[in-house]
Amino acid sequence: MTNRLNETANRLNETAMSTKQPGSAYFLEDRKEVPVTHTFSVVVDNEPGVLARIAGLFTGRGYNIESLTVSETEHEKHLSRFTIVTTGTPQVLGQIKSQLERLVNVHRVVDLTVTGRPLERELVLVKVSGRGEKRIEALRLAEIFRANVIDASTEHFVFELTGRTSKIEQFISIMTELGLVEVSRTGIAAISRGPKGM
């Protein structure tokens, strides 16, 4: 899901850059603002089509999705929580928030990056195969990264690792040299610091 969305978003970005003009009737101002990355939490009614509604909003309006995760978080109320990592100028990020809030079955939208440095984690499953030195090295490094072995044979390991994106990226890049077979990532789940809820 995340990759597909990423692809679409990237393609949109390319189009926007290749023609200097946006697809509007007039020149948009050359905005000097630098794009920044923000993490949004979005609480929605868990109804059929809600993911399509949110994903469609992003593609339809040409916004970026760097990561999108969702799961039902309150079963009795049928509420789901999206964590969406996106990049844009402050003006675009403001629009993203307003446009999300406009969707009828969205309860709340919080820009976690504005309210404080949010806690962000993702989980990765990494399959590594090999024998001898490389295998031992993989296990040793996994221990350093505090990854768990959740499946193993004499020829492979499956590691489970949770952490910030940078840590995951680093782990994957190291494992590439040590017989990396495949990777499955959840995308980012985020929550604000401190005692208060969103």
Partner: protein
């Protein structure tokens, strides 16, 4: 109030409970149970259109002219897909429409069944919200929610997709009073601090302008009254977008005319030079702003809008006020009075003197002719001969639409129905049918072009069937006039495919449908022919084929990529200026 009934009965019951008197639709396999219920009752009158697109536009016209929700009923598959243009149109122009679509039975969904399409998938981006109702127990709640969502906040279209088995199933009906929406509660009242700030800015203004839009109309007649009161208090000049015409009377002395791409000279220069802009229920659309980096460069901007996403979308504003126009204007006027605010009279006098100099340009002037009817002249005569009547105007899209906006003065809100945001050719005629259904005794005129009218001309059958005296006033120049004008401006006058060859004989066409056809060729006969149209029998539609000058252009015009103060005036432009009006960069723009 709860009772047991079938899903199909619930649909009709819910419509009646929501106060729906007219329903625009077209039957088909997946809505037969609902049509069977329609047959057995008299509360809701069904209007049979000839294509589903016409149904949605008719519902839009009905809604815009009454302030009520327009209701549409169509079948699955092609019925739903034909409705998509109308739904998108209603979304862009914030028109409340409830569209009920039939769907194949739940067990066939996803099976590529006959006349199946993913209606909620297709209509998701072109509705405010949509629902697929898979259980009859949810149906009554969803129907009432649909009406609530369509008319609340910034209005818009919604779709309720009902599989055929759900229409047959029996469930419990609950009335509209028992339905509360859990998430959607738009904010109506503006922030008092922002309103106070706005009052201060307005009191200090030396070159103010009120830039009003469709939000004033959507907020209801009270908003227009409050706008007029605000102008009585301040004597600020008023301009409006295409969608907002009629909120402030065209005869008012503070009225500047429409602004934007084909707006008046005075309106656009006032916008460019103002120091305080009060945007009331408008959204800084690209047709309005022109080049953004040269848009009202020295102004402080106040923006009243019910939709928070409109704030800072295109133009950054200084004082955003989120709320319903009527609520905000009421509080604004009250605050103005409480604070004993006054305007800067000396500055305002100088501002008005400047405005009068701009007005003296007489930017809508055109060269009239004794041999051929000029389109502007035709509309001026139409306006003069109908101004004392109870008139509603709809339009199609193109030059005729802009001329209508320029030359037809509107005194009241809800009298002007046009496709602004989406620019849908074919909107005006079905829309006029919707207006006439709502106002059977009024004069309803669709100002049309020869190309646009052909997009939904099949609705003549509808007009004849329901004995609707809708007048279709075609400014027939045998071109898609606005396309031709742009080809002249942008593409070296290469008239690619915009000449409408093989046009029908509109008089015979009207007669073939059972309506009345009238043709005017010469300026001298125009008034008599228009009077003949107005005095035609009150139970038949009229098509008026007004043969106008073929190559007239619509001015003033702000060329693409230019600022408000770089507009072209019709009386002044030479061929060469037309050729050079749009630079290479402007050519890629729409």
């Amino acid at each position: 109030m709860t009772m047991r009934m079938t899903g199909a009965e619930m649909v009709i019951r819910a419509l009646a409970d929501q106060g729906t008197e007219h329903l625009f639709g077209y039957p088909g396999g997946a809505v037969l149970p609902i049509y069977d219920e329609l047959f057995q009752q008299e509360k809701v009158q069904h209007v049979l259109v000839r294509q589903e697109g016409g149904a949605v536009h008719a519902a839009e016209g009905y809604a815009r002219s009454t302030g009520k929700v327009g209701v549409v009923l169509v079948t699955s598959g092609p019925g739903a897909t034909n409705a998509v243009t109308g739904l998108t149109d209603a979304l862009m122009d914030s028109v409340p429409v409830v569209c009920i679509t039939g769907q194949v039975p739940t067990h066939l969904i996803g099976n590529d069944a006959f006349q199946e399409c993913d209606t909620v998938g297709i209509t998701r981006p072109c509705t405010k919200h949509n629902w697929l109702v898979k259980k009859v127990e949810d149906l009554a709640r969803v129907l009432h929610e649909a009406f609530y969502v369509a008319r609340s906040g910034r209005p818009g279209p919604v779709v309720v997709d009902i599989p055929k088995d759900v229409q047959f199933a029996t469930g419990t009906y609950t009335g509209p009073k028992d339905v509360k929406h859990k998430t959607y509660q738009p904010r109506l009242k503006g922030d008092p601090a922002a309103i106070a700030e706005a009052v201060e800015l307005m009191a200090r203004a030396r070159k103010p302008v009120l830039y009003t839009g469709g939000g004033v109309i959507n907020s209801g007649p009270k908003a227009s009254q409050l706008l007029r009161e605000l102008v009585r208090l301040t004597h600020f000049p008023v301009t409006s977008t295409l969608m907002g015409l009629g909120a402030f009377p065209a005869s008012g002395k503070e009225w500047l005319g429409m602004l934007g791409m084909h707006g008046t000279y005075q309106a656009n220069l006032v916008m460019h030079d103002c120091d305080v802009m009060v945007c009331v229920g408008a959204r800084f659309d690209d047709r309005i702003t022109g080049r953004l980096d040269a848009f009202a460069p020295r102004s402080k901007k106040i923006h009243i809008d019910i939709d928070p996403s409109s704030i800072n979308k295109n133009v950054e504003v200084d004082v955003p006020i989120i709320g319903d126009v009527a609520y905000v204007l009421e509080d604004l006027i009250r605050t103005w009075r409480l604070k004993g605010a006054t305007v800067d009279k000396t500055a305002l006098k100088a501002w008005w003197a400047q405005i009068d100099r701009w007005r003296a340009k007489n930017c809508l002037a055109y060269k009239d002719s004794a041999d051929v009817i000029m389109p502007q002249h035709a509309l001026q005569r139409l306006h003069a001969l109908t101004r004392d009547r109870d008139t509603y105007i709809t339009t199609e899209v193109g030059q005729h639409q802009m001329w209508a906006a320029q030359f037809f003065g509107f005194e009241e809100p809800n009298r002007w129905m046009t496709s602004g945001g989406l620019g849908t050719m074919g909107y005006g005629f079905p829309s006029a049918i919707g207006v006439q259904m709502a106002h059977p005794k009024s004069l309803v005129i669709d100002i049309a072009g020869d190309a646009s009218i052909l997009m939904n001309v099949q609705e003549m059958s509808t007009a004849v069937q329901y004995r609707l005296p809708v007048k279709v006033f075609i400014l027939n120049n045998q071109y898609m006039g606005m396309v031709r004008q742009w080809q002249q401006l942008l593409h070296g006058n290469r008239i690619s495919e915009s000449y409408t060859a093989a046009l029908p004989d509109f008089v015979k066409l009207a007669e073939a449908y059972g309506g009345i056809g009238i043709r005017a060729d010469k300026p001298a006969e125009l008034d008599d022919k228009i009077l003949a149209m107005l005095n035609a029998p009150a139970d038949r539609p009229v098509i008026f084929d007004c043969r106008v000058a073929a190559l007239a252009n619509c001015f003033p015009m702000i060329p693409s990529g230019k600022a408000h103060n770089e507009m072209l005036l019709g009386s002044e432009v030479s061929e060469q200026e037309i050729d050079e009006a749009i630079g290479t960069e402007g050519k890629v723009l729409v």
